[in-house]
Structures are given as C-alpha cells and as structure tokens.
C-alpha cells in the first residue's frame, strides 16, 4: 500500500523529524511504502502530483495546522498528534491501512490533484470516507470480540443445550467433572466478551477521531449504551460524539497550569461526564420510552394477520441487533412462551429464524463477492456462518457498523421474509434460543430451514446489489484511474 504522511510541530525542529523517521520505519516494517512531508524549519519537499494521485491514504501527525490540506482532501485521512506518531507509529500505519481498505476501491485514485477544480467539490466524499475510516477502526477492533465471544457462547450451547443460559454463575457452582459446568463456563465467558462489544466499538471509534484522550469517554459512553439497551447503534452514536467532543476540546488553548494534565486528566474527565450524561439523559430516557411503546404496540397486534406479524418481527430483529427494537421483538416472543399458546410458539420460531438470517446473509455475501468487503470483514464473515446458525445475531454487527445505510435495510428485508415464511409454514419453537442446537424442538423443521435459506438469499443479494451500486457510482468519476497497483514492496 502507498501511504503519505505530513508531520508538523510548534517549534519545527525536533518532533516533526522524529515523527517522520518513526513513521518511515514503521511503514517499512509493515511492508508499506510511505512518503513523509516534514513541514518543519528545515524546509519541506511537497508531494509530487504522482505521489498524491497514487496514494491510498494519508496520515496527518501534527500539533499545528497542516499547510495546504486541500491537496489531499480526496484521500482517506488519519489524524493524530505528532507525539503519537513517535510513540505509536505502527498503530497509525495500521489505522491508515484500515482507512484505505474501508474507502471504496478506485475512489482513492481519483486524480484530483491533476484537476484542481474538482478537488474543491471533493469535500463531500472526503468527509464520507473520513467517517468510514473512523467506523472501520472501531469495527476492526470489535471483530475479534464478536468472533471469540460468539464462538464461546455457541460452544456453551452445543455442550450444554439451550437452557445453559439459565445455569447458575460458575463462581457459585463449578464441578470439574460436570459437562454442564464447563458449558456454563464457556457460555458465561462468551457473554462477558459480548458485554465488551459495544464499549469497544464506541471506544475505538472515539480513539480513531481524537486519539487517546477520547478512549475513556468512548468506552464509558458505550457502557451506558449497553446499560440503557441502546445497542450497537447507541455505541456508534456515543463513539462519534465522544471523538467529536474531544477533538473539539483539544483545540482549546488551556491555561499553562493545566496544559500538562489536559490529555491524561481534564479531557477524559470532562469528556466522560458530558458523553455519559448525554447517553443516559438525552438518549437513554427517550429510548426506554420507545421500547415500552414498541412492546405495547406489539401486544396490541396479537390476533392480526400472522404472516404480516412475522414479517414485522423479523425486520425488527435485524434492525439493531441487540438494540431497543430487537429487544422489543425478542422480549415479546419470549414473554409469550409462558402462555404456552400455539400462536406464541409460532412467534418464537419466526423471531429466532429472523435473528439467524443476518449473520448468515453477510457470511454468504462476503464469500461470493469478496471484493465488496474489507479483509477484516471477510475474516468476520467466516465466523459469521457459525454465529448465524447459533442464533447469535450480533455476528452481523461489524458489517452493519461499518456500512449501516446499506447493510441494515438489506438484512431487515431478508429477516422479514424469513419471519413471514416461518409463520406461513407453521413452524413452532418452545425454546427461547439455541439456533441449530434446538432443531429437535422445532415443529416443521423443513419449512423452518426453507424460511432461513430464503431470507439469507434475499439479504445477501440486496447487500451485494447496494454495495456494488455504491461502488459503481464512485467509480464512474474515476474511469481513468490507474490500474490496481501491485502489492507494496518495501
């Protein structure tokens, strides 16, 4: 990969060059090419138009305003303080590579420098790819949590059956010889890992925007999203808010007495109080009202057309994967189980099927159309097969967080199809979860399977369609872009 970097510091005699050296060393070690423009007192050699046209991403490591920023407005950008580049150059290179991978292929080589009049108009896509870069950073950190946590939970189910979720805590009872104890251990470890999913997503989105001081507000904001059941969409919001707030606060000119403790104390402290407060009061409270409203509304629907209800519940399951809408649909189904009525069993079956579809669909899409997904997403896709059949809907979160406006509508449509078909086929289920491991408990399992496959195909097709349409649009302006470059050789 070909990277650019600009380094600049207030005095222009030390940090600028140390950062440049550190970035060059780190890039070489990671097998990438990098050109650094040192905007310091020893004069700087500006990037050539060829370098600007061929670059995949740029790192701005500066404590002062970077000169002539519009030259690289077309590139995915990673911004950091100059000290960060000296101590954490490898991390910045990693972020830049992630940002480049997140940007649509071809759009980066848009030859903007050769046509300066275009460069001004490019501020739109530039901002868009910036946001995508931030989201991708968060997603790349969250994927291992999804995979490890999800597989632990699935193993727990496989070993202990679906009731393993009701097992007592392993801190209270653990028997070395009981397979149920081991299953409970795996399940509970997996659940803990999943509890970190939204905080990690939120924390690293904030980190990508505003560096280390944003980590605490980002993580805590994500924890509040978990507490208020705001789900991963809440985590996206808290991560972006926390990053934005700290980014803005960093521009304050702190009084000298405070300057030294700004990044380690003042920014995290104030940022966490503000973001946590917003997440609890401004977002959490209305969200609780929405959840109650949705539940009441669903209750009022009982007795209406079963197929339509299945479609609605299915779409809700896929909308926010663990957020308030998903929770409302799922809780509605589980609450019905205690009544033991036939309708309740139908609803439970539809809801679980619809919750299995999203990870399966994205696993399928990222297998058949590899080019539409980043390397990190493809890796997540491999785990998503297993997560999907285990009814661990969260397996689709990394995909949805990276590209919400294309992925969420697609998986909602597929899950609606699955929910409706499951109802139409009259499949029933008396267990609240378990996925593939509770097949023996499912009434009309063949119809159930058809419903899941149909929804998976619909979602996968839609995701591929929307993603390729998005890429084609951005590619039309770059017909003359250079052919795909050979892998970087350092």
């Amino acid at each position: 990969m070909k990277l650019l970097a600009v380094t600049a510091c207030p005095t222009g005699i030390a940090h600028t060059y140390m950062a440049a050296e550190a970035l060059e060393v780190a890039a070489e070690e990671a097998g990438h090419e990098i050109v650094v423009e040192t905007q310091g007192s020893a004069g700087s050699t500006p990037f050539t138009p060829e370098q600007l046209a061929e670059a995949d991403a740029i790192i701005l490591a500066a404590d002062v305003e970077v000169r002539d920023k519009d030259r690289f407005a077309h590139l995915p950008t990673v911004t950091a303080g100059v000290k960060k580049a000296i101590g954490g150059a490898a991390g910045l290179i990693e972020q830049a590579v992630a940002a480049a991978e997140a940007a649509p292929k071809g759009a980066t080589g848009s030859a903007a420098p050769a046509e300066p009049q275009l460069a001004v108009k490019q501020s739109g896509p530039g901002a868009g790819s910036k946001v995508r870069g931030w989201l991708m950073t968060g997603v790349s950190y969250v994927i291992p949590f999804v995979a490890a946590g999800g597989l632990l939970i699935a193993l727990g189910f496989a070993l202990g059956g679906y009731q393993i979720s009701d097992a007592p805590s392993v801190t209270q009872s653990f028997s070395w010889t009981s397979h149920l104890s081991w299953a409970a251990l795996l399940f509970q470890l997996g659940s803990l890992a999943f509890g970190l999913l939204v905080p990690v997503l939120s924390g690293f989105i904030a980190y990508a925007i505003a560096d280390r001081p944003a980590l605490v507000p980002g993580f805590v904001g994500g924890l509040v999203a978990v507490q208020t059941h705001a789900g991963f969409l809440g985590g996206l919001v808290s991560g972006l808010l926390a990053g934005g707030l700290i980014f803005w606060m960093k521009k304050w000119r702190a009084p000298k007495a405070l300057a030294g403790i700004m990044p380690v104390l003042v920014l995290p402290l104030v940022g966490t109080a503000v973001i946590g407060g917003i997440m609890f009061v401004v977002i959490g409270q209305p969200l609780a009202a929405v959840t109650t409203g949705l539940t009441d509304w669903l209750n009022s629907l009982s007795g209406s057309n079963a197929v339509l209800l299945g479609a609605l519940l299915g779409a809700m399951m896929a909308f926010d994967m663990g957020g308030p809408v998903n929770k409302a649909a799922y809780a509605f189904a589980v609450a019905g189980l205690s009544t033991n009525s036939q309708t309740a069993l139908l609803i439970m079956a539809a809801v679980m099927a619809a919750g299995m579809t999203p990870p399966l669909a994205l696993a399928l899409a990222s297998t058949v159309r590899k080019k539409l997904f980043t390397e990190a997403e493809r890796e997540n896709g491999r785990a998503a097969w297993l997560l999907g059949i285990s009814f661990i809907t969260e397996g689709a979160i990394p995909f949805a967080a990276a590209d919400p406006f294309r992925v969420i509508p697609s998986i909602m449509a597929g899950s609606a199809v699955t929910g409706a078909l499951s109802m139409a086929f009259g499949s029933t289920l008396r267990a609240p979860h378990g996925g593939i491991f509770v097949v023996p408990l499912i009434g009309n399992p063949i119809g159930y399977l058809i419903a899941i496959v149909a929804g998976t195909l619909v979602s996968a097709a839609l995701v591929i369609l929307l993603k390729s349409a998005g890429q084609r649009r951005s590619a039309t302006t770059t017909e003359s872009a250079p052919a795909p470059r050979a892998a970087a050789h350092a």
Binding site: P10, T11, I13, A14, M18, S41, G43, D63, I86, A259
Partner: protein, 153 residues
C-alpha cells in the same frame, strides 16, 4: 580529531553525569555549557525560551528521552548539548524519567541549510541503535564524534 567551532556538538557540550535533582537543574547545566562554548549569548533569555516550549507540551518521550529545545534569539548557531543521567530526570513522559537529555538550540532566524543538521539529529533520536550507543558510551569526546558522524556534520 579536530573539532570545528561550527560543529553541531563538541566534547565540552557533553555531560555524562548530568545533575538530576530536577528538570531545571539538568536544563541549567546543559545551557551553561552552551553559553561557555559561546553558542548562547544571553543565558536568562535562552532558559526562558526553553521553558516556554516546555510549558506548551512536555518534551519527554517514551523510552527515557528528554528533548528540551527552542528557537531563540540568544542562540548563535544550531547546537546540541547532550546529557546522560543515571537516576533519570523527569521531562513529563508518560513512561518515566529521561536518561538521555538532548538540548537542541536553534537560532531564531536560522536558514533552512543550518536546520537540516537538526532534522537529521531528530531522526536519529528514534533509532534504538543510536540510543544504545549513547547509553553505553564512557567518553565525552567519543560521544561528540559519534553524534557528528551520525548526523553528517
């Protein structure tokens, strides 16, 4: 080896046993060496400029390095004074005190040609081999020779 007066660093600008009571003591000792060598005209002015930069953001870096530096009207030529401390001097780095202290003095209106030597020095500071050599050195003259050879000045 002869030591041209215009060189970035000379043996008398090396202090292998730097006063380490606090940052000011360490900075003061190195600044005095620069003054004695005729590279700093007004010590008070120079120290104030160094302190002003330090207040903007501490110059301590991870890995036990401090780089007090400034551009100052009191400086006559781009210069480096180097100090090594066994106990370490706190320069505000997150991972602890600095054992290697590089005081970089740049003249206020220095043209870019003169500054390239400082840029080359800064680049060496992030290299482990460079730091290791200085940590192990026993002779001030050798240290000055080594640094001049590394930065090509």
């Amino acid at each position: 080896m002869t030591e041209p007066q215009s060189a970035l660093i000379t043996a008398d600008l090396v202090d292998l046993d730097l006063p380490s009571a606090n940052r000011r003591a360490a900075v003061g000792a190195l600044a005095e060496r620069l003054q004695k060598a005729g590279r700093v005209t007004d010590l008070t002015q120079f120290l104030a400029d160094i302190e002003a930069r330090e207040q903007q953001m501490p110059t301590g870096l991870e890995g036990g390095i401090g780089i007090p530096h400034c551009r100052s009207a009191a400086v006559t030529a781009p210069s480096l004074a180097f100090g090594r401390s066994t106990a370490g001097v706190d320069f505000g780095a997150e991972d602890g005190p600095a054992r290697l202290v590089f005081m970089i003095a740049a003249p206020e209106g220095g043209d870019t040609d003169h500054m390239t030597v400082l840029a080359a020095l800064a680049r060496r500071l992030v290299r482990k081999a460079f730091k290791d050599e200085l940590l192990g050195a026993t002779d001030a003259g050798h240290v000055a020779d080594y640094i001049r050879k590394e930065v090509g000045a």
